[in-house]
Symmetry: D2
Subunit: 427 residues, 4 copies
């Protein structure tokens, strides 16, 4: 299905629509000379394959044409449009690096470019997609039985089913090893486990059809696939967490399990301990590392445009001021560095040479820098920044969450510190 | 009326109510020894008079008891409760440094402590109050005719009338000298000016009864008092600006004037040019400089409490981690410095020794540091920071606006740069 | 003797010498209006007594006239002129806050202003003086017997004797409680202790006549006064530590004690444990907190002058550029805040209301900010910064050491963190 | 000759010498698994060719074995050993990217790896080499006549001749277009120009045999090759600039030309204007961008070792503390990003796709980050940092100069700002 979308996209490219959105999406290819391009200052695109460029272009086109127009209202209303996952499924954007089961089987970098295109619009949209791809389809692909794969991957890939990932608990954020959710043989239903516990800050949980839940069985962490439709009333609740101050275009909730019966066949058969969730998180974090560069690039684009169009003091555009130019130069620099690093780690990942610490490094750095620069660029908008119609305030609020979730920046610093020194300093 | 409130407050102090709110408000006085107090590390309170301490205590008590409980919902709904100004009026908190006309006539520092107490709850609440006190009552007191003072100051002081301040225009933020709003003799109504133009980002404008508007008359900037009730239909519109990403507990709008007739007696008689609005802004900025220290202190308080209560890794509270302690130490340091500086400038102001550059200096520094530290402290909350119930996200969003309005940080840097070097670098 | 100097200085003031140095020293008093003065933006001087102003003026005059001309060569040669302590003694600058014994008995703030005046020239010169005043005369005054005071304080106050302070050991920098230097009853000399151990990074040690040494007696830390002239050959060595990359205008060395006999009468009689050395350090740190503001002010002064005189691009002085003005504005702001905070803590100290944490707070912040801004200001000099004749490189190198010694910045952060949270996080 | 050295190096690798230096140089290859390596966290080495790896290894070996042992004394004495250029010439390290004329003709990245290996020891050594390679051999190769190339390149490549590059003038640092040095037809010597003017901060000038000097001929900037041996007495002086506070292991001086006669054949025939010097600087800046990563890596290595070996508080190494680990993690992150970016730009350069703005970007960022982290890592050494034997203070001082020379950081920010916005903001 991906190749279909790709082909369509190629066809569409042949007849460029002369809209602003289209020109935005295709702007990167405007120049073939080796002039400096602020959108890609170190020509990271030269490191991509033709397929990757086409995927990136297609994804960007979809996001600018289909997601950008609805994000403002979605964010205001704190509302996630379930249809988006179906659209993404149709384009082959879900679980894109998985081979088979209706997935596109593209490179890690290509997968990253999809997250980047989505996050150029909104980190919440990207989060929702990341959960589906990396945290639900990922572990099924990595740890699932053939039956689990056959049953769920195609449905998830098409966006027919929505998944969520239950690891974090109310009292255990950075420290999932202390989780309190427990699975035990079901007291009455043979061939079933009974799971009880609570998970929180779970993206997609209120609308999820399939919940990947991590729980302790005999004291050891195991992964379970819970289908909402099979849960007896009262055993599964997924209340939404509202009034968030970031990622409002994605939906977040809790997972409350009260002796929820789960078929034994729905447990991942072999993976035990934190290796399971951490493998998924590693993949999701890669997507974040690349994705936030998209949000940062959008901030740069918008700030630059504003600085060129806003006139102050004697008819000069803001862009003429040194203090403004420095903000732009700083942001462009870190955006270009972060993208190169993400591509490099993607290549290493496909070569089997990446390590979790590398992911920690780029997830942390790219989130930190994207957040920092989005805030600095926001200053360019002056008083107008307070209006959500300039979008940058939304990016700022979102990027703070990306810095915080899937390993807060300081946690990754200590992971790196341990790798550098051989000494752990968590406690 | 202020003295009444003050007396009441003194009486209440004699019978301390054992509630959490009360204990919070009175906590500062818990210790009489010279131990280190993180809430006031350099004992700025030792620089205050007994009256100032009592005012601060009274204001803090009101804010914690009356404002804190409603701010969360107000912020969610982007709704400002008009009654707040009446309550503040009743307590004598409006225009507190003005002498006579029902105003309390307290010191500049005392006025600052009131803004600080309010901003400890919310910068939007403080903004609304600052506009009333510094930007509406201030210029009437400084530049008004005796009749203008008599007519408006008591009503404003009691909160019976709400005022707003129209200076910024859509195309002129940091550069008000280029304003386009114009006053001219009214073509048909004798003894009236006719004013046309648009102002934007005007706090309180949608609910204002009295609008201080700056417009050019014969090319020179003059100030006018516009009473909404006297404006013919269609000559004054004040549409609200919604969907703000900060200061949502205050109400903001535009002022659209279309040949609005204003009695000649409603112009400030003598002040000409930017001196008028800048004098008011100077006073408002002082309030901001002190006020944001309140917001920062609330962030510190909340982050400290969270760090002490949140347990991670082997049963340790977050507060045990070096990276957390450093964030707290850094924030506490700048909070203490900023408060000292604001007190110093307040004293100089009352002695007639302050200059606008001093206000620029403390407004800029205190806003910058409050914003910076609120963001860093927000990290302590990890994923939970995204929930508005922890309040810190609200402070972060608000403080960004305070850094931006009434002189964006960089503008004040250039004001200081000019004062330091004798060379202007605005363009 | 101090009053003599003061009187002389007053006389000299009556006949101002029209030299550059004099105009520099007296520049602060040029204006009596309330205009903004970049040298003292928040009018910290308004908080000083007439005596303090006179002392500050006198000290600044001495430093600019007598120290500034020799610092460049001293720094190049890594050479400290022993005569400086005598000159300072003659002016009453040593141990100035001590009452009696030939000391001036001035306020803590006045003492701080002296260190600031000296550090305006060089942090090394200030270090040497701080050791004499705070770390040698201080503990004798605080903990000494009447005999010890009578014998040593006058000699030290006049600069006839040079003192040093031996606490830090090669393996115990931030952790003096683990010291290894030991005192025990002398095996052969009755009425004597025998002290063995090594101290390092000891300012003044190679030229010291009197060494305050902290050592463990029966496992408890005690203070001893060791006179070099009384030490048998081979029991005391004080080799200089050369090739320093900062504080090169002060002399630093080790103290090596090998069964050194010390009369029992030379031990401080009552103070036991870290309270002794920490009391002295507290006092010295106060001097640093105020002192580094002097170095920062000198950096500002030099950078400003350079920026005004250096012409680039179309005949504009560097001072016209926004990026330059921002550097100056930032530095001036922190200089003014740091000075206010130091004055406040000085007042609290004299009132018996200061705590060690307050000193940690201002020592850390003022050193951190002085170092940071000196580095940023150094950028203004471009390639010329590499020449020592612009002096700013020397300040940068010195200020790094001030951030590091007497409690590295992070250590003070943890001291503050402990005071804020009630939890210690040192290990 | 390069291949000889390379072959030797290959032979030596076959029999690893068990010395500390050797183990350091070869440490990078210790592990063949995909574990995280703090020395190369994102496996930048995987992007290098075998030849590049061998060159890097050879250069690192030479630098660690031959340069490291003499740098401390050289820096103390502010003395540059002329023999170093001969040694480098023998190994083929000079002008390595030039094809022919006895030069190795390696890739831009390989050339960068050589500068990185040298700068791992000292930025001054690298500066001296960069001048010879990029600023003297570079323009001769790019702009020279065949005769100029034949005459000078082999001598320079072997280190038989030392070159220097005269562009910066006392009053024109960031603004070379305003240079005052002038060439005109020699009044008495036919076939000669007469050049007069002064250049300053010229690396190698006091020992240079061949001086590339830029001067205005008929108002247009042209490049001249001046051989010292041919200059009549009194027409060329190259006094050393002493007492530098950085880059003390390189020699710096002025070039003073007083009607110096230069054969017309010694002018570059075609290049006119700033294009000439800027092309060379572009190449030199590339070397700096890669080189400073070497200095940063050495700082990381030394700080990590110190943190592991230094024991404080309850027997813990400093490396166990969170605040220390964060410093290391931050530095390692930027080192890995900076290296990737430099490799990318090197590849683009060889493909003819690089632009000066890209070089500005990586020169600025890598210098800024190297400087920043060297300073933060220096804090780890506490009081010991002041001793030059820990080397990190030297790197800190050097790196400040690298941030400043060949385009101060802010200048490059404005170059980038211009490229991003299309508006120049230099004045």
């Amino acid at each position: 299905m991906f190749r279909t979308a790709l082909r369509q996209c190629a066809r569409r490219s042949a007849f460029p629509t002369p809209t602003a959105v289209a020109s935005r999406a295709s702007r990167h290819y405007a120049s073939s000379t080796s002039s400096f391009q602020w959108e890609d200052p170190l020509q990271a695109k030269s490191l991509l394959t033709d397929e990757e460029l086409a995927i990136s272009d297609m994804a960007e086109r979809y996001c600018q044409e289909q997601l950008q127009p609805r994000v403002l209202q979605a964010y205001r209303d704190e509302n996630y449009d379930r249809a988006i996952l179906s659209e993404m499924g149709e384009l082959g954007l879900l679980g894109p690096t998985i081979k088979g089961y209706g997935c596109a089987g593209v490179s890690t970098v290509a997968g990253g470019l999809i997250t980047k295109a989505v996050e150029q619009v909104d980190s919440g949209y990207r989060s929702s997609m990341s959960v589906q791809s990396s945290l639900v389809m990922g572990p099924i692909s990595d740890f699932g039985t053939p039956e689990q794969k056959e049953k769920y991957l195609p449905q998830l890939a098409q966006g027919n089913m929505v998944g969520c990932f239950g690891l974090t608990e109310p009292n255990h954020g950075s420290d999932p090893g202390s989780m309190e959710t427990v699975a035990k043989p079901h007291p009455t239903k043979s061939g079933y486990y009974s799971i009880s516990g609570a998970k929180t800050w779970i993206t997609n949980s209120p609308i999820a059809d399939l919940l990947v839940v991590w729980a302790k069985l005999d004291g050891k962490i195991r992964g379970f696939l819970i289908e909402r439709k099979d849960c007896p009333a009262g055993t599964l609740e997924t209340p939404a967490l509202k009034n968030k101050n970031g990622l409002r275009a994605s939906i977040t909730g809790m997972i409350q399990l009260d002796n929820c019966p789960v078929p034994k066949a729905n447990m991942f058969p072999e993976v035990i301990g934190l290796k399971g969730p951490f493998t998924c998180l590693n993949s999701a974090r890669y997507g974040i590392a690349m994705g936030v560069m998209g949000a940062l690039e959008d901030c740069i684009d918008r700030a630059r445009t504003y600085a060129l169009e806003r006139i102050q003091f004697k008819g000069n555009p803001l862009a003429k001021y040194q203090l403004i130019q420095k903000k732009l130069a700083d942001a462009v620099t870190d955006a270009s560095y972060g993208t190169l690093a993400a591509i490099q780690v993607g290549r290493l990942k496909d070569d089997g040479k990446s390590t979790p610490e590398m992911i920690s490094l780029i997830k942390r750095q790219n989130c930190d820098r994207a957040l920092h620069h989005s805030r600095v660029l926001q200053e360019i908008f002056g008083g107008n920044a307070v209006s959500d119609e300039y979008h940058i305030g939304r990016h700022v609020a979102n990027l703070f969450v990306t810095q915080t979730y899937e390993g807060q920046s300081d946690i990754h610093a200590l992971i790196l510190g341990r790798a550098i020194t051989g000494i752990q300093a968590f406690a």
